[in-house]
Structures are given as structure tokens and as C-alpha cells.
């Protein structure tokens, strides 16, 4: 095993030295940390991490190996991975590759033996941090802002159609792909829906021609404000079809209806975020991965109600339109990784389509 030194150089001036887990190659990105203690493969393959170097706060990574079933996307999008202690000889009945094999297969620059807790505190204190994984400790990151074209990179180029294996409902759901996780599609298929994943820039007319029963605006990377050109389409589609927005999709809907988003100090990324359902008063533990948030004060409360709030920082976690069939959530009901406490959101969404019976055309 090559154990020569690799470096994570940050725009804060910090240089953290580690060892190469992957083949050494340099790459830049925004630094973020994820606090989930399981689900590293799901994190690595989540397109929402496009443009980001992800540090995993749990130090022992790779213990149960990697496989072909757990990927959240075909192509990994993140810019780099930082961990503390890898496992080189994993054992699990599903495991096909070690973490080393995996990061090399998918080509992610990865450093280990890094004090990830120190890195977490740097990110927490500075908020927005950019860095470069490099072979040279004197290197410096060039990138100083979030790439506005991230979604373009991770979205499908052409529509992809999926048909369910069982429980056929004869309901067709279109997923706007801003960098969707496969688990969203899987959840819909499992519920018996047909699914068409469409590129992020699909027009209203194209959607109409697909004749969906409902639309989901998916999760995805980057600053939602960089997608302002597409907001009219988002609004028109959402007003026409029963709609569910997830993560970036939630933010885009809020923007399309006149709300504003802002950057969180250092994001919510992990599997332990408590969210309160204001209708029931119950708290659910959710999987989250977002750096931006909908500003509560910018929501038109005559049209919208806030359905969910984050228990820790009281940030907006979900919206529901008062008259139209539009619901949005900031967290990830599809989980993977993370708890399935909010999985009922898919079930409720699909059930509402069935209750409505006939298609609801504008």
C-alpha cells in the first residue's frame, strides 16, 4: 500500500496532512462534513455533494465494505473524501469491494489519517471553507465560491423511464432531476408508480406531453439561486400537478413562489436531524444534506403554511400550499443513508394521488 503523504489545503490557511487512500490526484471543492455514523457509500454516491469535499466525522470508515446495490447514483459527483481510519479488510455478506477499491473505481481523491474532528471545527468556525486535496502542502485552492453549474453536471441529459415491478397503481410521476438520489425513484417504484426522470431544464410543454399524475422536484447540489432562470417553469409545473419538493426541490419551489433562500452557517449534513411536524407536534429524526435554507420571513403565509421546523435551529424544514397540492420538505424522506421516520411522506403523496382519482389537469 502506498502510504505517502497527501494534503488538504484550505483557504483558511490550514493544512492538514494525511495519507492517500485513492490514487493521488488533486481536486478542489467546498468543504463540508457529514455526521452520519453509517452509510458512507450512500454519501459518496449522493449527487448533492457535487463540487464538495466531504469529511466524515465518524472515524472508522469502510468496515462493512462496499457493494453494487447501495449506490445513490451511477456517477459519483463529490470532489473528494476525507476520513480518519479506513478498514482495508472489510467483512459483510453484501460486500464486494473494500473502500480503497471503491474510491479508486469511482475515481474520488481520498485522504485518510486526517484529524477529521479538527477539520469539522474549522468548518464550523469559518462556515464557508474551500480546499484542495493535493500532493503539495504549499498548494492553495483557487475556487472561492460555489460553482453555479453543478446541477447541469449531475442531471440526466435525457429522460429516463422506470416501470414498477409490482403493486401497479397506474400513476405516473415525473422527477425533475437536479441530482436526484436513486432512493427517491426506488421509493416511488416500490409504491407502484411509473417514474420518468427528466433533465433539470425540461420545459413545461415537455412535462405536459409526459402527462404525469404528479411531479417531484429532486434534491441536488449547490445554491438554489443559481437556478433562477428555471423558476417560472417550476412555478407553472407545481401549480399544475400535485407536487412534492425535496431538499433543493423544496428550495426552488419556495423561490418560485416568491420566497428567499440563504446560506446556513455550515449546513446540515447527517442522519440525526430532529424535525417537528407542526400538525402533530411529533418529532422525527431525518436525514439531511443541505447548505442553504428557505428564510421563514420571506414565505407568503397567506398562501403557504410552514409544515415542519428544525428542532435545533428552528429553520424551515417543510412547506405546504394552503390551496394547491404542493408539499415540500428540506430533509430526505427517502433516507439512504439515515432513518426512515419520514418515509410516510412518499406513501402519503402517492395515496393522495389515488384518492384524487382522475388526473388533475389545469
Amino acid at each position: 500500500m502506498d502510504q505517502f503523504e497527501g494534503y488538504l489545503v484550505l483557504n483558511t490557511g490550514d493544512v492538514l496532512s494525511g495519507k492517500w487512500l485513492s490514487e493521488p490526484f488533486c481536486q478542489e471543492g467546498e468543504l463540508v462534513f457529514n455526521t452520519a455514523m453509517t452509510g458512507y457509500q450512500e454519501v459518496i454516491t449522493d449527487p448533492s455533494y457535487a463540487g464538495q469535499i466531504v469529511s466524515l466525522t465518524y472515524p472508522l470508515i469502510g468496515n462493512y465494505g462496499c457493494n453494487d446495490q447501495t449506490n445513490e447514483s451511477v456517477h459519483t459527483a463529490l470532489s473528494g473524501l476525507i476520513i480518519s481510519t479506513p478498514c482495508f479488510d472489510p467483512e459483510h455478506y453484501q460486500s464486494h469491494y473494500s473502500l480503497v477499491d471503491f474510491v479508486n473505481r469511482v475515481g474520488i481523491p481520498t485522504l485518510y489519517d486526517i484529524d477529521t474532528r479538527a477539520l469539522t471545527k474549522i468548518i464550523r468556525e469559518h462556515g464557508e471553507v474551500y480546499g484542495k486535496i493535493t500532493t503539495d502542502p504549499n498548494d492553495q485552492p483557487v475556487q472561492m465560491s460555489v460553482d453555479p453549474e453543478l446541477v447541469k453536471h449531475v442531471s440526466v441529459k435525457e429522460s429516463v423511464y422506470y416501470s414498477p415491478q409490482a403493486n401497479l397503481l397506474e400513476k405516473h410521476v415525473v422527477v425533475f432531476d437536479y441530482g436526484h438520489k436513486q432512493s427517491i425513484v426506488d421509493a416511488l417504484l416500490k409504491a407502484g408508480c411509473e417514474v420518468t426522470v427528466v433533465p433539470y431544464d425540461t420545459s413545461y410543454l415537455t412535462i405536459q406531453s409526459l402527462d404525469p399524475d404528479a411531479v417531484i422536484f429532486s434534491n441536488g447540489p449547490g445554491d438554489p439561486a443559481s437556478l433562477s432562470a428555471f423558476l417560472p417553469t417550476v412555478k407553472a409545473v407545481a401549480e399544475t400537478y400535485p407536487t412534492l419538493g425535496i431538499c433543493l426541490g423544496h428550495q426552488l419551489i419556495a423561490l418560485a413562489f416568491g420566497g428567499k433562500t440563504s446560506r446556513l452557517p455550515y449546513g446540515h449534513r447527517g442522519s440525526n436531524h430532529p424535525v417537528k411536524d407542526l400538525a402533530t407536534g411529533k418529532v422525527m429524526i431525518t436525514s439531511q444534506n443541505h447548505g442553504y435554507v428557505v428564510k421563514e420571513t420571506t414565505i407568503d403565509q397567506s398562501q403557504w403554511c410552514i409544515s415542519h421546523l428544525n428542532v435545533n435551529d428552528q429553520s424551515v424544514e417543510g412547506l405546504r400550499h394552503k390551496t394547491k397540492a404542493i408539499q415540500t420538505v428540506q430533509f430526505h424522506p427517502e433516507a439512504h443513508p439515515g432513518p426512515v421516520d419520514t418515509h410516510h411522506i412518499f406513501a402519503d403523496f402517492v395515496e393522495s394521488l389515488c384518492l384524487k382519482g382522475a388526473k388533475q389537469h389545469a
Partner: protein
């Protein structure tokens, strides 16, 4: 939701004395819960008869009853106090069982007491395996095939339907007592028979075994609004088959995919919702390593040992939050006290590994069966936190205090490969060390996995560390790179181990490490993996660069050493002392820094000290903390022998050991110097000497005359201590000792003449000039019984004023001579004619009687001692000096044994300590106090009736015994010799039995009390059937006398003390 407004007064039931399966974790949980209730303005009534606890401290509850944990006693308390609510889920199995019994007896309904928190039906659902089984079937959660049976025949019938091996689990027993794994019908018959005896409802569950599956635990909380959170999950190093209390456990799980974790998480949530738990709940799963199949093993709807571990592993205070939920709060309404600004309705994320190793008593009970199965045998546990597995393991092994600094356990290297292979197939306490030896011998992971079923990940991690050690030792000192040394420290390999691997001096290792500027850095436990800033964090060492300790801003900073894992001879009483030392420092404006590694205790609660370090208690680990904190010094008197043993090493590194001078401590530990000291002070000591060889031992023994008392030096709990009647016994003893002890530690041995007299002991606070002795403890048993195993009465009822004056005089002389600053314990033995008082031993530290003396008299001894150590004068503290006037009531300290949990351990009293805990009984007369102490728990103070009488087989009698026997109205049976002995002394028994017939009669449950000095078989049989088994006539006499004074009202400690609080206070002149 606001809290339940109608609840203003709450009764909390504690878990009572420490027994195997129920240790200090309930002091921690109970203390947290009581404080959480008080915070809400609730009046807290506490019943707990374990005096060595923080929970029973004056400021923890409003009314404290140190009274028996029986339906009778608690019913009276309820009638008197009329509480609105009862919180039963914090006192372990004892608390739960008592709450259920009180409900069944109609006491709660009669007094309109609401059961708070988890509903009773839930508790029954969790505890009654049949109900639990059908409930799990209803909600489609998988469980093992099983059946509850009430007879051996039923068990065999069920066994015929499914395959062996089968697990036997008795209903409603602690720590799985009486359970086991049967691989054939003969074993099944034996285990079921025993299990039926142990179960209070005579029921056992026969269950299909999933031996070899991964054992996984989830700690879940649920509030009244149905919000559920997982605090922590844990994975057992040992696969299913070993009781979780006896398993090495890591948190979080290491080898489960996110999908598997979520699968078990969802199952946990489903189960806790179905049960309707309000508060904490522990769920144990078995997970097939070759698929996603799982079964639920069991559910504990209460705080437990696992919840204490989960609390310390994550920082999330489960018991505290559970108490709030019981009052009606919701999780999102309760602040997470660690972060201070996030709420309890989240799931902790940790960024380290927590590893627990149980602490077993086999170093003391070498005759006990060391195999581990479904019946828990550990007395305590240690936890280590680290950034990698090898570091956690190394820290935990050091924390066990087995004299090991690595996975090398002396003696194992002598075993053959075949012995090793046989040794790891069935789990024992030594399996970890056997595995390490096999890896050193080149066994591969697949082989070890095949033998043990242990998940490969854990074996790989062991191998990683062993390979690293081997590579270092092959390299030799000159060729070791700085990066390798850093790696060694990141694996937490101590300098002593590095020195032996590299064949150099330990000091050389230290010098090089200092030259390389390598040092330990400390990371925080903050519940959130650094996502949020933390208010009251605690720390663990790593050797990664970044250190998070912010210097404490007080002028003086002092380290208090804890006492490590609970073991026989060093129990929760030392945790009590460490905690009080920390509190006292804080009161005095001094920053208190606590180091300890026991996850069960109050001392490792984040709120006890200003800074808490979860670290092993070795010179190296402590020195690093002292340096990091720039502490003024270290207090070593409160953490038992663990802390005292570090004094010399710390001092050699230039660390200020506060209090008594080290050379003076040495004088009490070194027998020669000690006798010299007593001679100088003209204080009589028992004739004796220190010997350095076998020949020497024989000569000295002959000279002072048999019987002699013999023991290795520097021991705790009388380990290896024996009374030898002649040279043959001496020979036998020495040859056994030589087999068990590495020769380097065998000598010196101490030999004393054995004087059969009454024993007394004192604890005193001293400042070099003055002393305060709150009172004298008198032992019921005469010499020859370890002080920890004797029944002790306080204040001493049978001493003359001359005796007391002599004891006070000796104590003053000794403490002045030694310039004791702090606390001291002195044990005395009186000659048979009570004319001479010998000093038996001097312990320059707190002892197990300190909490009792402090609580009964109100003299906060540890606080005073700490003040003295911080430079204050005893005479300025508001207390009278010298031996205090006696309180007008009595307390009895009753040793409690866990003998039924440890097959092979003879319950006979001897100089070697065997008890695991102690109960207290308080009364206005000695007999009343004794009655409460003997009757500490249901079915422990049994009557001697016609049907169930007293069996006697004893070698001596006393006048007192004869007198007491004459009060018995029930049946008294004895062996022929005993009957003759009694007759000669004026007492005639009802029947005479041969030993063989007696054994049969005992097995047939014809006796409630067995007093036997002759036959281990008889005593073992007595234990099996749940009789009271005694082995000393003094104890029996006390038992019989106490029985005459059984009917006593419970009272609070304050009630007993009423009007005597100021007895020994200095009157302030106006």
C-alpha cells in the same frame, strides 16, 4: 406539553446494594433522576438501603429512607408520605419488581399513587416472556422459537420439538441469574431445575439458540407524544451466547450497513411504540451475519447498565431525560445539557469509538467457573474512548487494573496450541488474551473466526495491533521511525509496553517522545461530533494533533483520581468518596478535574467535575492529564487502592501528591516500618513479620505460633489472605500461591499471629495536629473475617469508655506521627479478654465505612478531608475534635454477597473478601437495626418455623448463641457432633441428621436458615434453594436476636437524627 401539574411528591425506589448484575449504574441513574425531579420543584422521597451511594446523600432527595426494599417497608413509607407518584424504572430490576409487588398488593391503588413513566403493563409485557412473545408476533417482529415452562418435564417436551442448543432464561431474575445454554437433555434438566428455583415465579423460558449471530443493542427513548429517538446502538465483540453484561461491547455498531442499522432502528421504534414506554428502553437483537435476518432477544423497559454505558459513550443523560419525560415533558421540550442549546429530541452522533470490557472477579475467585454464558458474572466494567479500535482496546485493558499494559497476559505464553484452541471455543474472561497470543503465534483470522464466531472486523483490528507490535519489536530501538512511534501512541500503547517491545528503559521511551515533541491531545465528548459547540463536555486522549481542552480559569486546579471498575474489595463507596472530593474542591473555588474509566458511576457524570477525563488510571495516563491541565496536584486518598497505588509513580514524575507525605504512606504499607512505627508509639501490634522466602515463612510461622494469618503485601480486599492452622496448611497455601502468582509478585508475604478477638475500626479526618473521629464501627464477627465481609455496627455498642479512649488515643498518636493530612482508616482487634487493643492495619485513605459514618453522623468526612488537604485547619470547621459523642441510634452495615451468580464460590466467611456490596439497617436499638439489615430485601430475613427450620453444623458455641437458640420456637436440626456440642452447653436440638441426610433435607427445602462451618456442599445446597446461609456463630446469634425485633417502623435518616444534629458541633459563643 407542560409537566403533569398534579404530581408534586414522587417516591423513587433505588436498586439497593450492589450485586452482580446491578451495580453503580443505578446510583448514577438514580442521582440524575432525583436531581432532575427536584429541578422541577417536585418533592422527592427516596428509598434505598445502599449507604455507599451519592443518591442517598442529603441534598439529592427531600426525604431519604435508608430502609429495607420490601413491600412491607415501602408500604409503610407510602402510607406515611402519601406521594402522588412513584417512579419505578430507575432502580433496576429491584425497583421494578418492588413496584410490581406494591401494585399487586394494592398499595398504590389504596394510597392513590400514580405510577410515573412507563406504564406497568409495559413493564410486564417486557418482563413476561410469554406476553412479550405474543406481542412481537402481533406486530410481526421476529423472535426466537420459545416456550415458558414451569417444570423440567415441560422443558424436555418442548426440547424434543426443536433443535439443541437451547437457551434457558429464568423469569424475573437479575443479570440472567440461573440461566444457561443446554446442548443436551442432561444439561437442560440441570439448568432448568436451578432456573426454576431462582425465578421468583418459578418459570423459565426455553428458547431456540441463535448462538454465533451478531449481538446488537439499541438504546431508545420515547415521550408521551410518541416521539422516539435512538441514543446509541452497540455491537458486542462476542457473538450471541454471552450475557451482554459479560460481553466486550463497542458503540456505535461497527459492522452494520446503514440499511441494517435502519432496519433495526425501525424495529426498535416499532417495539417501543407498541410497548408504550415513556422514558428509556433497551432492546437486544441477534443479527445473522450472512443475511439481514434478525430476532429480538429481549427488551428492558427501564434504565439499565446498557443505558448507563450509552449515556457515558455518547454524553446523552438518559436517566435525567427519562425522569423529565415521566413528568410529562416531551423530548423537544428538554434541553440537551451537554450542548446547552439543542434539544433532547435528537440522536447523538459520535466521532470516536467507545469500548467496554467487563471486570470479572476471577482474580479473587480462582476456584470459580470462569466460563461466560447467559448468567452474568462481572462485578463491574471499564469504558475507553478513542479514535480507533486498538487504542480503545489498549486503554480499556489498562483500565481493568489486572496489572496488564497490553494484550499479553502472563502465563498464557506457556499454553500449547491445543490448549489455546480449546480455550477460545467457549468464552471465558481470558478469551481476548488467548486470541492475542494466537495471533502472535501466527494463527490467521479465518481460523480464529471458525473457533469463536467473532466478527472478522474485530479480529482484524486485534491483528492490526499485534502485527504492529511485532513489527516494532523486530525492528529494534534504533530503527524505529518517529512516525511509527506516533502510530504506537495513536494506538495508545503505553510507554511501559513500548519499552518492553523495544527492549529499552521506559524512561528512554519517554525521553524520545518528549524530544519528538509528541504528546497526548484531548478530544471532547459532545453528543454531536463537533457539529455544535458544547457547554459541559468531557475528554478522552488521542494522539492526533488537535487538542480541544480550554484551560480552566480558576487559580487552583486539582485532580481527583477515581477508583476504576467496581470489583470485590473496591466498590461504589470509593466513587462516593471521589465525587465528594470533587464537590468539595468546587465549593472551595478550586477547579476539580476527575479522571476515571468506570462508565457506571456518578464520578463520570459530566456535571460532577469541572473537567472529566475518561482515561485509564495509570501513572502515564494520569501524568499526561496533570500536565495538560497544569494542575497543582493530585488527590489520591479517595479512589481506593487504585489511586494510592499511583502515588509513588506520580511523585517520581514530579507531580505533587497532595496530603499525607509519601514516605508516611510507605510506613503504613511496609510491614517492617509499620511495626517500627507502632513500637515507637508504644502501641501494641500483633506479633508478625514480613518474609521473603518459603523457608523464611516456615521459620517465622513456627516462632510466632499457629494459627497464623498470612497474605501477600499490597493487596486489596484481603486477596489471598488465609488463616493457617499448621505447617501442612502453610505448605499447601504456598504451593497454590506459587502456581497462581508470577514469582516477582509473590513475596514479600506477611505473617501474623492470628488473634481470635473482637474487631473494631474507625475512620478519622486528620490535619497533622487534630483529629475528628465521627464514631467507631464494631464488627459482629470476630477476627478471621475480612472487614468488608463482617456485619458492622455503628456506633460500637459493646465498648467501655476506656476502650474508646484508647482507640482515640492510638488514632491521634498514629495520625500525628504520620502527619496525616486528610483521611485515615484504622482497624483494631481486641485480645480475647478485651484488655489489649492491637492495631491491625492503617489505611492512609478513605475506606468503605466512610459513607456510612458520614451519613449517620452528618460529619461530611470527605469534605473535611479535602479542606484539610487544601490547607484548612480542622479546628476551624465547626466540629468538635477527637472522638465524637455517639448518636442515640444504630446503623448496621450488612455485607451482601452475589454467591448464587458465581458457581464454585464457597460462601464461607474468611479473611478473603467475597461480598460485592452492602446494605444498611438503621434502628433505635442494635437489634432493630440488625433486623432491617438482615431484612434488606424480600425473602432474605426468613423465619425459623416448624416446617422450615434451622440447620446447624458448627465447631464452636458461645453463651450468647445458646441464649439466642433458646428463643427459637421452630425446628432446630444439627449434625451429630454439633448436637453433642450444643447439649454440652445446655441446648438440645429437635433432630439429628447425618451430613448426607442433611443435604437431602436442605435440597427438599426443609430449612430457611443454614449455619454451616464444615461442608462446602451443604452451604452450596443451601444457596441453591434460597435459604439464608451463614457460616459464623456470631452472625447467627445476631440473626436470631434480630428476629425478636422484626416489627420496626421505617424512618428517614433525618428522623433518626432529629435533635442530635448539633451533638458534636462547636457551640458558637455569642
Amino acid at each position: 406539553m407542560p409537566k403533569l401539574t398534579e404530581i408534586k411528591k414522587v417516591l423513587v425506589i433505588g436498586s439497593g446494594p450492589i450485586v452482580i448484575g446491578q451495580a453503580a449504574e443505578f446510583d448514577y441513574a438514580g442521582t440524575q433522576a432525583c436531581l432532575a425531579l427536584k429541578e422541577e420543584g417536585i418533592e422527592v422521597i427516596l428509598v434505598n438501603n445502599n449507604p455507599a451511594t451519592i443518591m442517598t446523600d442529603e441534598n439529592i432527595a427531600d426525604q431519604i429512607y435508608l430502609e429495607p426494599l420490601t413491600v412491607e417497608s415501602v408500604s409503610k413509607i407510602i402510607a406515611k408520605e402519601k406521594p402522588d407518584g412513584l417512579l419505578p424504572t430507575l432502580g433496576g430490576q429491584t425497583g421494578l419488581n418492588l413496584a410490581m409487588a406494591l401494585t399487586d398488593a394494592g398499595v398504590l391503588a389504596q394510597h392513590q399513587v400514580t405510577l410515573l413513566g412507563t406504564p406497568l403493563e409495559t413493564i410486564q409485557k417486557g418482563e413476561d416472556r410469554e406476553i412479550f412473545k405474543s406481542m412481537m408476533k402481533e406486530i410481526n417482529e421476529p423472535i426466537a422459537e420459545s416456550q415458558s415452562v414451569e417444570s423440567v418435564a415441560e422443558a424436555c417436551e418442548f426440547a424434543n420439538q426443536i433443535e439443541y442448543p437451547l437457551i434457558v432464561r429464568p423469569a424475573y431474575t437479575l443479570g440472567g441469574a440461573g440461566g444457561g445454554i443446554a446442548t443436551n437433555q442432561a444439561e437442560l434438566t440441570r439448568i432448568v431445575k436451578n432456573g426454576l428455583h431462582q425465578s421468583p415465579i418459578h418459570q423459565v423460558l426455553i428458547e431456540q439458540s441463535v448462538k454465533g449471530w451478531k449481538e446488537i443493542e439499541y438504546e431508545v427513548m420515547r415521550d408521551g407524544n410518541d416521539t422516539c429517538v435512538i441514543i446509541c446502538n452497540m455491537e458486542n465483540f462476542d457473538p450471541v451466547g454471552v450475557h451482554t453484561g459479560d460481553s466486550i461491547v463497542v458503540a456505535p455498531t461497527q459492522t452494520l450497513t446503514d440499511q441494517q442499522h435502519q432496519m433495526l432502528r425501525s424495529s426498535s421504534v416499532k417495539v417501543i411504540r407498541e410497548l408504550g414506554v415513556i422514558g428509556g428502553c433497551n432492546i437486544q437483537f441477534a443479527l445473522d451475519p450472512t443475511s439481514d435476518d434478525y430476532i429480538i432477544i429481549e427488551v428492558n423497559p427501564r434504565v439499565s447498565r446498557s443505558s448507563a454505558l450509552a449515556s457515558k459513550a455518547t454524553g446523552y443523560p438518559i436517566a435525567r431525560i427519562a425522569a423529565k419525560l415521566a413528568l410529562g415533558y416531551h423530548l423537544d421540550e428538554v434541553l440537551n445539557p451537554i450542548t446547552g442549546d439543542t434539544y433532547a429530541s435528537f440522536e447523538p452522533a459520535i466521532d470516536y469509538i467507545a469500548l467496554k470490557i467487563p471486570r470479572w472477579p476471577f482474580d479473587k475467585f480462582y476456584q470459580a467457573d470462569r466460563s461466560l454464558g447467559t448468567q452474568m458474572k462481572a462485578t463491574g466494567e471499564v469504558m475507553a474512548l478513542a479514535r480507533n479500535f486498538p487504542a480503545a482496546l489498549n486503554k480499556a485493558v489498562r483500565s481493568l487494573e489486572l496489572g496488564l499494559d497490553s494484550l499479553v497476559c502472563p502465563g498464557i505464553e506457556k499454553l500449547t496450541n491445543q490448549q489455546l484452541e480449546e480455550g477460545i471455543v467457549s468464552p471465558t474472561d481470558q478469551r481476548l488474551f488467548l486470541l492475542a497470543e494466537m495471533l502472535r503465534r501466527g494463527y490467521n483470522i479465518s481460523q480464529l473466526k471458525a473457533f469463536t464466531g467473532i466478527t472478522k472486523y474485530f479480529l482484524e483490528e486485534l491483528k492490526r495491533m499485534i502485527d504492529f507490535e511485532v513489527s516494532l519489536s523486530k525492528k529494534g530501538w534504533e530503527h524505529v521511525a518517529a512516525s511509527e512511534l506516533k502510530q504506537a501512541k495513536q494506538y495508545s500503547i503505553p510507554n511501559s509496553r513500548l519499552a518492553s517491545l523495544l527492549a529499552i528503559e521506559e524512561q528512554t521511551v519517554l525521553d524520545i517522545i518528549n524530544q519528538l515533541d509528541l504528546s497526548a491531545s484531548y478530544k471532547m465528548v459532545d453528543t454531536c461530533a463537533a457539529e455544535f459547540s458544547a457547554d459541559t463536555p468531557y475528554f478522552y486522549s488521542s494522539w492526533q494533533e488537535y487538542d480541544e481542552v480550554e484551560a480552566l480559569d480558576k487559580k487552583h486546579r486539582v485532580v481527583v483520581l477515581g477508583s476504576g471498575p467496581i470489583r470485590i474489595g473496591q466498590g461504589v463507596e470509593f466513587d462516593y468518596c471521589s465525587v465528594h472530593a470533587a464537590f468539595s474542591l468546587k465549593d472551595q473555588g478550586v477547579a476539580a478535574i476527575v479522571i476515571n474509566n468506570n462508565p457506571e458511576t456518578v464520578s463520570t457524570d459530566y456535571s460532577t467535575a469541572d473537567h472529566l477525563y475518561f482515561e485509564p488510571l495509570t501513572v502515564e495516563d494520569v501524568r499526561q492529564v496533570v500536565n495538560k491541565e497544569q494542575a497543582d496536584g493530585v488527590l489520591i486518598q479517595y479512589g481506593g487502592q487504585t489511586a494510592i497505588n499511583l502515588a509513588e509513580g506520580l511523585s517520581q514524575h514530579g507531580i505533587n501528591v497532595i496530603g499525607t507525605d509519601l514516605s508516611m504512606i510507605e510506613k503504613t504499607e511496609d510491614r517492617e516500618q509499620f511495626y517500627q512505627l507502632l513500637n515507637d508509639l508504644s502501641i501494641p501490634h500483633i506479633p508478625g513479620a514480613t518474609v521473603m522466602s518459603v523457608a523464611d515463612a516456615k521459620a517465622v510461622a513456627a516462632e510466632i505460633g499457629y494459627p497464623v494469618l498470612m497474605r501477600p503485601s499490597y493487596v486489596i480486599g484481603g486477596q489471598g489472605m488465609v488463616v493457617l492452622k499448621n505447617e501442612r496448611e502453610l505448605d499447601d497455601y504456598l504451593s497454590t500461591l506459587i502456581e497462581q502468582t508470577p514469582s516477582s509478585r509473590l513475596f514479600p508475604l506477611l505473617i501474623d499471629q492470628f488473634i481470635i478477638g473482637d474487631e473494631v475500626e474507625i475512620d478519622a479526618v486528620c490535619d497533622g495536629e487534630d483529629i475528628i473521629i465521627p464514631g467507631i464501627f464494631e464488627h459482629v464477627e470476630r477476627a478471621g473475617v475480612h472487614s468488608g465481609d463482617s456485619v458492622a455496627i455503628f456506633p460500637a455498642p459493646n465498648l467501655t469508655s476506656e476502650h474508646k479512649a484508647t482507640i482515640e488515643d492510638y488514632t491521634r498518636k498514629i495520625s500525628q506521627y504520620l502527619n496525616i493530612r486528610g483521611i485515615i482508616n484504622i482497624q483494631f482487634v481486641m485480645s480475647e479478654d478485651r484488655q489489649t487493643i492491637y492495631v491491625l492495619e492503617v489505611n492512609p485513605r478513605a475506606s468503605r465505612t466512610v459513607p456510612i459514618a458520614s451519613k449517620i453522623t452528618g460529619v461530611e468526612m470527605i469534605d473535611l478531608a479535602t479542606k484539610v488537604q487544601m490547607g484548612k485547619k480542622l479546628r476551624d470547621q465547626g466540629w468538635m475534635l477527637g472522638l465524637h459523642k455517639e448518636v442515640p441510634f444504630y446503623a448496621v452495615k450488612m455485607p451482601i454477597f452475589s454467591s448464587t451468580k458465581l458457581p464454585g464460590v464457597d460462601p464461607i466467611l474468611s479473611p478473603e473478601m467475597k461480598s460485592t456490596g452492602e446494605a444498611i439497617g438503621i434502628g433505635n436499638t442494635v437489634e432493630a437495626a440488625l433486623a432491617k439489615a438482615f431484612g434488606w430485601k424480600e425473602e432474605h430475613f426468613l423465619p425459623i418455623s416448624e416446617e422450615k427450620g434451622l440447620f446447624l453444623s458448627i465447631a464452636s458455641v458461645s453463651e450468647e448463641l445458646i441464649k439466642a437458640l433458646k428463643t427459637i420456637t421452630g425446628k432446630v436440626v444439627a449434625t451429630k457432633d454439633t448436637a453433642q456440642l450444643l447439649l454440652a452447653n445446655g441446648y438440645q436440638v429437635d433432630h439429628v441428621l447425618t451430613e448426607q441426610d442433611a443435604q437431602m433435607a436442605i435440597e427438599n427445602e426443609q430449612f430457611n436458615v443454614v449455619c454451616d462451618q464444615q461442608s462446602p456442599m451443604i452451604r452450596a445446597q443451601g444457596l441453591m434453594v434460597g435459604a439464608v446461609v451463614l457460616s459464623r456463630i456470631e452472625t447467627l446469634t445476631a440473626y436470631l436476636n434480630a428476629w425478636q425485633h422484626k416489627e420496626v417502623e421505617p424512618n428517614t435518616l433525618k428522623g433518626y437524627q432529629n435533635g442530635v444534629n448539633d451533638l458534636n458541633k462547636v457551640k458558637v459563643e455569642v
